[in-house]
């Protein structure tokens, strides 16, 4: 779960890191009020779950409440890389004497935690790593042992913090690591981590990803989950317990069981010249009701010019899947072809149910490749 900047900063504050004073605004009016309270100079920052907002006009420095209102008004209409700006963060301006980069993330290769530090703050760290690898300090932290003092010293050296602010920076590093562990984060990034003109060490931006699997330990953090808006397809999916739903850009609706199989189906659709409209994994042991809901969800969206249902029955019974498909076709008006491929447990029974339904839009097929071809063909 990726957090918005202001949510990440809420966690920073809770774990003892300094952040600028700020307020979230959902309207231009709220933005001007915030600017009045925090100004004169404030930053107005679009809250979106995607990087690169700066270049897209998502961050502005303004000098009075009227300007804040105007800037917020423009920003709240923006869509940055497909992400509509629904709120902005208005923050008090701070004097900066140095900028560093600091992050902690799960390193899958070593199965440990990795702290990355650099004195090149405020820049794209991947570019820095490419151009100036020696400007990046990497420190692996053993998950059982935790962060040690000698490692904090290495990180401080990497951050290039002036001597007078070393103690404050050490506290920031330790607090960020505590947050990372205690909040079950998979990434915490501060870019830039600044030293203010008063010598304080402060997080000017935040990027935090939390482990979805650990939310049971942090019920108070479930509120950070993306709110995709009332009536959205994601909301409908979540309501039906179809949590592994992902909206994509194409025109072939995809339903399958098992993450690998669904990914493989998406790839096949691509190989035969189509594009998937979504990723939808109904999981293991899906019954007729689940299938019916899933199919209706894809059909209701209206973007799909065809639907591909690809089921390999293990625990899942293909006869129940077929019943679900037929149920959905009876429940809503269907104007696009629904290509269904069933294999594994009770596949014969399932295919019989499909053929007996004799629905004009229903296209039973024998193999994955054939399914992909038929589904893509239908979109042309």
């Amino acid at each position: 779960m990726d957090l918005l900047e202001h949510q990440g900063k809420e966690l920073f504050r809770r774990w003892g890191l300094l952040v600028p004073e700020g307020r979230v605004a959902h309207t231009p009016k709220q933005a001007s009020e915030a600017a009045r309270a925090l100004g004169p100079t404030v930053a107005v920052k679009a809250q979106v779950r995607i990087g690169g907002r700066g270049k897209a006009g998502g961050v502005k420095i303004v000098h009075d409440p009227e300007e804040a209102e105007a800037v917020a008004g423009a920003m709240l209409g923006l869509t940055i890389k497909g992400h509509p700006v629904r709120r902005v963060l208005v923050e008090a301006g701070v004097g900066i004497t140095s900028e560093s980069y600091l992050s902690i993330l799960l390193d899958r290769t070593t199965r440990s935690h990795l702290i990355i530090a650099s004195a090149r703050g405020g820049m794209d760290i991947e570019a820095v790593a490419e151009d100036e690898p020696e400007a990046i300090t990497r420190v692996h932290v053993d998950p059982l042992l935790g962060l040690q003092t000698f490692q904090v010293n290495r990180v401080l050296a990497g951050l290039g913090i002036p001597a007078a602010s070393r103690k404050a920076a050490a506290a920031a590093v330790r607090n960020l690591y505590r947050l990372y562990v205690e909040a079950d984060a998979t990434l915490v990034e501060v870019n830039p981590l600044i030293v203010t003109d008063g010598g304080e060490v402060m997080a000017l931006d935040s990027k935090v990803s939390l482990d979805d699997s650990a939310v049971f330990r942090h019920p108070e953090m479930s509120g950070y989950a993306p709110d995709e808006g009332v009536g959205s397809q994601e909301e409908a999916a979540a309501k039906h317990g179809l949590s592994t739903f992902l909206k994509l850009e194409g025109e072939v609706g995809i339903i399958g069981n098992g993450a690998g199989l669904v990914m493989s189906t998406l790839d096949l659709v691509d190989q035969v010249g189509g594009r998937a409209a979504n990723f939808l994994d109904v999981g293991g042991g899906a019954d007729a009701k689940v299938l019916s809901n899933a199919l209706q969800l894809i059909l209701a969206d209206g973007r799909a010019k065809s639907v591909l249902v690809n089921i390999f029955g293990g625990i899942t019974r293909c006869d129940l899947v077929a019943e679900g498909v037929v149920d959905a076709l009876g429940a809503v008006e269907v104007t696009v072809p629904v290509v269904v491929r069933l294999a594994g447990t009770n596949a014969d029974a399932g295919r019989r149910i499909l053929s007996e339904a004799r629905h004009p839009m229903l296209v039973p097929v024998g193999s994955m490749v054939e399914a992909a071809e038929k589904a893509v063909e239908a979109t042309r």
Binding site: L144, F216, T244, A259, G260, M263, L268
Partner: protein
Amino acid sequence: MAIFVDHNTRVLVQGLTGEQGRFHAARMKEYGTHVVAGVTPGKGGRQVDGTPVFDSVEDAISATDANVSLIFVPAPFASDAILEAAAAGIPLIICVTEGVPVHDMARIFTHLDSVRMHSTLIGPNCPGIISPGKSNVGIIPGSVAGPGRVGLVSRSGTLTYQIMDELTSMGIGQSTTVGIGGDPIVGTGFIDCLDRFEDDPETDIVVLIGEIGGEDEERAARFIADEMTKPVVAYIAGFTAPPGKRMGHAGAIVSGSRGTAAAKMQALEEAGVRVGRNPSEVAGLVAALSAN
């Protein structure tokens, strides 16, 4: 031989009294797997479909000589179940449970890495292991498997069943299929499985089924190039996955420019691995090799 599980496998099921545990234990027994015990704290002394339940793994091992533990307990309790099995010294632990927090797995992985620990962990979030005709430990449907000389190792479930099914229906059986799981950190990766297949006299060809995320496939490619003599066929899922989106599995996510299917395929091909573009092509490549 086969790898990990065979005729001598004696399974205890942690969470046998739960709905999932009971259902799959029954299927496993139907397949012929020796399911000898269940463990649910506080429910020792009961039976589930004739299988005795114990309060602890230690008790279950003492009473039944179980040598594999299969874990179905819910995610919040799965870490404790793994650690209990490991503390009891059981050689193989297979965790089916999905949704184990990744920080827990980082700690468990480090712990199991100690020279004092003697357990191999498969999973979590994995379908288990089947050595067709010998033992089926997990949730892989026995119907898609047939005994033979192809070893499979995979990060996914149904996709693997699909490939097994295509192989079996072409008359190509399997020595063992290992589902290593789809989480960012799993107990056992590709390399350890490839190594075992390389050493297994009953395996001639190995199929590796990977997906986006991490760089385990890239590391596997290096291992194949450096250490393996047996032919390897591979498949990678997720060529069309957009960066930053989690494709179902917690581990299936392209981060920036890292973990892409294209990079993985390239690494494998450079290691001399034949990579199929879809499950049927994979089966075809294996069939061609089998025919030689």
